[in-house]
C-alpha cells in the first residue's frame, strides 16, 4: 500500500511561511496516495519560479526545467511512456506568460498530462512584479502607481476551454481537501487537465490574500460539467463571487490514443526494426 511516507523526500520546501504552495504540496501527495499510485511511476515536471521548485520536495521522478516549458517536456514524457502519471506544475508567470502557447497547444492535443498552476498574480521569486493574472491597476515594482498594471489579466480557464481542454478546474490553496479532490479527479480523467489554483503570495500580494479569497470563494455544486457554455459563463463570473471546483469535464481521445505509432503502446517498449529492404527505394 502506498502511504504519504513513500512520497516523503529529505529535502523540505523553502517557501515563505504561509505560502499557498504548501497546501498544493500536501494535496498533490495526498491525491497520489489516495489513488495508490507508486512514486516510481510519477513524474513531476516544472518550470521556473517559487512554485516550480515543487519536484525537489517530493520523492518521485522530478524534472525541474526551464521557465515556461514544463508542458513540452511533460508531453514528451507522456508520448514516450503512457504508463507514467505525468504532472506538469508551475506558476502563473511560468505558464501564462512565458509558456502560454504551450498551454493552448497541449490542451488542443489533449495530451494526457495534468497541469497544476499555482496562481498568485505575481512573480514571487523575482520580488513581486505583476504577472499575467494580476488585476488591472495592480501596483508592483514594474507597475508603479498611480496607474498600476495596464493589462487586462489572462483568464486561464476561458483560454483552456477555448483551446479544447477536456478538464478545466479551479482550486484554492485555502481549501486543501477540496483541492486534493480536484487533483484526484484530474488524475482519474483521461486527457489534458488544467487546475488553476488560487494561491496567496503572503509576501508580495497584499490584495489577493487568504482573507480576500475566504470572503469570495464558493464551491461549485451540481453544475453540468459537460456543458461548455455554462463552464465558460462560470469562468467569467465577476470577482465578487469566485467559483472553485470542476468547470468542465468531457471524454475525448487523447493524443496517445489517436497517433498511429503511439496508440500501439509505450515507445519505451518498442524496438525499431530496420529491414534490409529499406534501401530498395533508393535504387
Amino acid at each position: 500500500m502506498v502511504t504519504l511516507k513513500d512520497y516523503d523526500y529529505h529535502v523540505k520546501p523553502d517557501w515563505c511561511p504561509g505560502c499557498g504552495n504548501f497546501s498544493q504540496w500536501t494535496a498533490i501527495k495526498g491525491a497520489l496516495v489516495e489513488l495508490g499510485i507508486e512514486p516510481h511511476n510519477v513524474v513531476i515536471v516544472s518550470g521556473i519560479g517559487c512554485s516550480s521548485n515543487m519536484p525537489e520536495y517530493i520523492r518521485a521522478y522530478g524534472f525541474h526545467g526551464l521557465h515556461g516549458r514544463p508542458l513540452p517536456v511533460a508531453s514528451g514524457i507522456k508520448f514516450t511512456n503512457s504508463k507514467l502519471t505525468v504532472i506538469a506544475y508551475g506558476g502563473d508567470g511560468d505558464g501564462y506568460y512565458e509558456g502560454l502557447n504551450h498551454l493552448y497547444h497541449t490542451a488542443k492535443r489533449n495530451v494526457d498530462v495534468k497541469y497544476i498552476v499555482s496562481d498568485n498574480e505575481v512573480f514571487g521569486l523575482t520580488t513581486g512584479q505583476a504577472s499575467p493574472t494580476a488585476p488591472l491597476g495592480f501596483v508592483s515594482k514594474t507597475t508603479p502607481p498611480p496607474e498600476g498594471s495596464l493589462e487586462v489579466p489572462v483568464n486561464p480557464l476561458t483560454l483552456a476551454l477555448t483551446a479544447g481542454a477536456t478538464f478545466v478546474a479551479r482550486g484554492y490553496s485555502g481549501e486543501i481537501k477540496h483541492l486534493q479532490s480536484l487533483i484526484v479527479e484530474a488524475l482519474k480523467h483521461k486527457g489534458f487537465a488544467l487546475i488553476d489554483v488560487l494561491s496567496p503570495c503572503v509576501t508580495w500580494n497584499k490584495i489577493a490574500t487568504y482573507e480576500y479569497y475566504r470572503e469570495r470563494v464558493y464551491k461549485l455544486q451540481g453544475n453540468d460539467v459537460t456543458n461548455f457554455d455554462n463552464a465558460y459563463k462560470l469562468a467569467t463570473e465577476s470577482s465578487d463571487k469566485i467559483p472553485i471546483g470542476i468547470f468542465y469535464k468531457v471524454e475525448k481521445p487523447t493524443y496517445n490514443d489517436i497517433d498511429p505509432v503511439l496508440k500501439q503502446g509505450p515507445l519505451t517498449e518498442k524496438n525499431v526494426e530496420i529491414k534490409k529492404d529499406i534501401l530498395e527505394e533508393f535504387y
Partner: protein, 574 residues
C-alpha cells in the same frame, strides 16, 4: 574518351526542374553510373529562375562539377542565361556543348561554342497528353540518347516514379524524345551501361536513415528549409519504421519535447536550420545541465535572420559551438557527404547516450539538398545506450562524481531510483545546491564532473580523416559539405604539380588539437569555408595557436573545384 558529363535542366519554379533532375539521376544510377545532383532554386513556388545540375560519370563524382555539357532549357531565359560567358549563377559554368530546347524558342543569342538542338518537345508531348510538364520527359529521352545510354532504363525509372496513366504517358514521351534524337542528332559521348546499380540518396534522407538505424523512436521538429528533407523522409516512413513524428508549436517546444523523451528513456531527435536552432539554445543548455542526451540536426542556410532561405552557407559554426549561456559540455559533428551524413548521424546518437550531453550534427543546404550515388550502406549498427542504473539502488546517485564524468541514468518507471533532475545546480543526488544555501564546493565538483565528460570524449576522438596528405606541402582544411569539392581541388592542384592534400574536420568540438598539429606540421594550412569570416580558421587559431590562410565563399552558392584552385592562386598559396 570523356566519361564525366555535366547536365543542367533550367526553367522556372513549377516547371518540374527538380523532379526531372531526380528522374534523370535515377536513370543514371540504375545504369550503375555515379552521379552528384545539386538544386539551384529560389524561395518561391512559381516563376523565377531555377535549375538542377547533375554530374554523371563511371567513377565516383564528389561534387556538382565545373563545365557544362548538356543544357535542357525549358524556357528562353534559361537558354540565354546558361550560354552566356558572363553567367551570374554563383560559380556555375556556362554551356560549351549541346542545348536541348523547344523549337518554339527562337529569340536567343547564338554562341559559337554551343550546338543548338531546337526540338519539337511541345509538339511531341501535346500529341500524347495535355500535361505541359510532359515535354521535360521528351527532353530526358533526348539526353539519354545523347549519352548513348539505355532508353529501357529510363522507362523503368519512370515506371517507379510515376503511376498509372501518367506513367504510360511519360514512357511514351521518353521513347519519342529518344527516337527523335537518334534520328536527327549525334551522340556526344558514350557512358558504360553495365555497372552495378547504385543507391541514389539525398543528404537529408541520409540523416533520416542514419537516425532510424541509430535507434530513434521519435523525431520532433518544426519545418524549416533546408532541414525539412529529413523531417519529410521520416514522416513518410513513420508507420513502417514505428517512429513517432510530431510537428509542435515551435522549436522551443521541439527541443523541450525531445529532452522529455530522452529523459523518459528513448532516443528522440530534433532538427532545424539556423533560425529554428536559435530558439533551441536554452533547451540545449538544459540538456547539458540535466545530462540528458539529445541529438540536434542543424542544416545551415545563408543568414543572418531569414537570409537566403534556399541558399547554402557555413555561417553557423561559431553560433552552434557557443549555443546557450554558461560553460558546459557539448559535441559538434559535421559530416562531409551523403554517406557520412548517414554514418555520423547514427554515431551521434551513440555519443549522446554515452556522454549524456547534447550532440549537434551540422549540415547545410549544399549537403542536405544534394543527391549522391552510393555503392552501398551498412545497416549493421550496435546501439550503445551508455550507462544505465539497475533498479532499487539505495541512495542512488544520478550524478555520481566519477573519474570519467559519466554517471548512471535512470528512467521514470524504474523502481527505487527516484530522483530529481534539475536545471538549478545540483549535487550527486540531484538535490539543488543553489537555493537555501549555495554550496561553492559542490558547485565546483559538479561543474568539473560535467566537464570531465568532455575531456573523456576528447581523449577518445578518432584522428582526423585526410586525403592525399602524406607528401603534401599544402593542406586544404575543410569541414562539412565541402569535402568532395575540396578533395577535387587538391586533385587539380596535384595535376598542376602542386603537392596539395586535404584535412577533413568532422569532430569539430571538442577538437583533436594534438592530431591537428601533428598532421599539419611543416605544411602550409589553407582553410576553405563557405562563409565570410573564416569561422573554422578562427577556431583552429583558438585550439592550436596556428595561423592559416583562408579561402572563403559567401554569395549563397557552393564552391566549384576550379574556383578553389583559382582562389588558391590568388592568395599565393603555392
Amino acid at each position: 574518351m570523356k566519361k564525366d558529363f555535366v547536365i543542367r535542366i533550367g526553367g522556372a519554379a513549377g516547371d518540374g526542374v527538380q523532379s526531372s533532375g531526380i528522374l534523370l539521376a535515377k536513370t543514371f544510377t540504375r545504369h550503375g553510373l555515379h552521379i552528384f545532383g545539386y538544386n539551384y532554386y529560389q524561395d518561391l513556388i512559381r516563376g523565377g529562375n531555377s535549375w538542377y545540375q547533375i554530374r554523371v560519370s563511371d567513377k565516383k563524382v564528389k561534387n556538382q562539377g565545373d563545365g557544362l555539357d548538356i543544357l535542357v532549357a525549358l524556357n528562353e531565359d534559361s537558354l540565354n542565361r546558361h550560354t552566356d560567358p558572363n553567367i551570374n549563377e554563383g560559380g556555375a559554368s556556362y554551356l560549351k556543348g549541346i542545348a536541348i530546347f523547344d523549337e518554339s524558342i527562337k529569340n536567343y543569342e547564338k554562341r559559337d561554342f554551343v550546338k543548338y538542338l531546337p526540338s519539337p518537345l511541345s509538339s511531341i508531348s501535346s500529341k500524347i497528353s495535355k500535361n505541359p510538364l510532359l515535354k521535360n520527359t521528351v527532353a530526358l529521352g533526348m539526353v539519354i540518347a545523347a549519352l548513348d545510354l539505355d532508353i529501357e532504363i529510363l522507362v523503368s525509372a519512370i515506371a517507379t516514379v510515376f503511376k498509372g496513366k501518367s506513367s504510360d504517358e511519360n514512357i511514351e514521351a521518353a521513347r519519342q524524345g529518344y527516337n527523335y534524337y537518334m534520328a536527327n542528332f549525334e551522340k556526344i559521348g558514350t557512358l558504360p551501361r553495365n555497372g552495378k546499380k547504385k543507391l541514389l540518396m539525398g543528404g537529408g534522407e541520409a540523416v533520416g536513415l542514419g537516425a532510424a538505424v541509430g535507434g530513434i523512436k521519435a523525431y520532433v521538429a518544426y519545418p524549416m528549409t533546408p532541414a525539412s528533407s529529413t523531417l519529410h523522409w521520416l514522416a513518410s516512413h513513420s508507420k513502417e519504421l514505428n517512429i513517432f513524428i510530431k510537428v509542435p508549436e515551435d522549436e522551443i517546444s521541439a527541443i523541450n519535447t525531445v529532452i522529455g523523451m530522452n529523459y523518459a528513456g528513448i532516443r528522440a531527435m530534433t532538427g532545424s536550420s539556423g533560425g529554428g536552432y536559435d530558439l533551441m539554445h536554452e533547451g540545449i543548455g538544459l540538456a547539458s545541465m540535466l545530462e540528458v542526451p539529445v541529438v540536434i540536426y542543424e542544416s545551415q542556410r545563408a543568414g543572418p535572420s531569414t537570409g537566403l532561405p534556399t541558399k547554402t552557407e557555413q555561417g553557423d559554426l561559431m553560433m552552434i559551438i557557443n549555443s546557450s549561456h554558461g560553460d558546459y559540455p557539448r559535441a559538434v559533428i559535421a559530416p562531409g557527404d551523403v554517406e557520412e551524413a548517414y554514418y555520423y548521424t547514427r554515431e551521434a546518437l551513440n555519443l549522446a547516450d554515452k556522454y549524456q550531453m547534447p550532440v549537434i550534427v551540422v549540415s547545410d543546404l549544399y549537403l542536405s539538398e544534394r543527391i549522391e550515388s552510393l555503392d552501398d550502406l551498412s545497416l549493421e549498427f550496435n546501439i550503445d545506450r551508455g550507462m544505465i542504473a539497475k533498479e532499487n539502488i539505495e541512495n542512488f546517485l544520478r550524478y555520481e562524481y566519477t573519474e570519467n564524468g559519466i554517471s548512471p541514468r535512470a528512467f521514470p518507471g524504474m523502481r527505487g531510483l527516484m530522483h530529481n533532475e534539475d536545471s538549478d545546480e545540483h549535487d550527486e543526488r540531484g538535490d539543488v545546491v543553489s537555493d537555501i544555501i549555495t554550496d561553492p564546493i559542490k558547485r565546483k565538483l559538479s561543474v568539473e564532473k560535467r566537464m570531465r565528460k568532455l575531456e573523456t570524449l576528447k581523449n577518445n576522438l578518432p584522428p582526423f580523416k585526410t586525403y592525399r596528405i602524406e607528401d603534401a606541402e599544402i593542406v586544404l582544411v575543410q569541414w562539412g559539405s565541402t569535402k568532395g569539392v575540396v578533395e577535387e581541388a587538391a586533385d587539380i592542384l596535384r595535376e598542376e604539380g602542386i603537392k596539395a592534400g586535404v584535412l577533413e574536420v568532422k569532430y569539430i568540438f571538442p577538437f583533436n588539437t594534438v592530431d591537428f598539429i601533428t598532421k599539419t606540421k611543416g605544411k602550409k594550412i589553407i582553410v576553405v569555408e563557405n562563409n565570410y569570416s573564416g569561422q573554422l580558421s578562427g577556431l583552429i587559431k583558438m585550439f592550436t595557436g596556428l595561423d592559416t590562410l583562408k579561402i572563403n565563399k559567401y554569395n549563397g552558392e557552393a564552391f566549384y573545384p576550379n574556383e578553389i584552385v583559382n582562389e588558391f592562386k590568388k592568395i599565393g598559396g603555392a
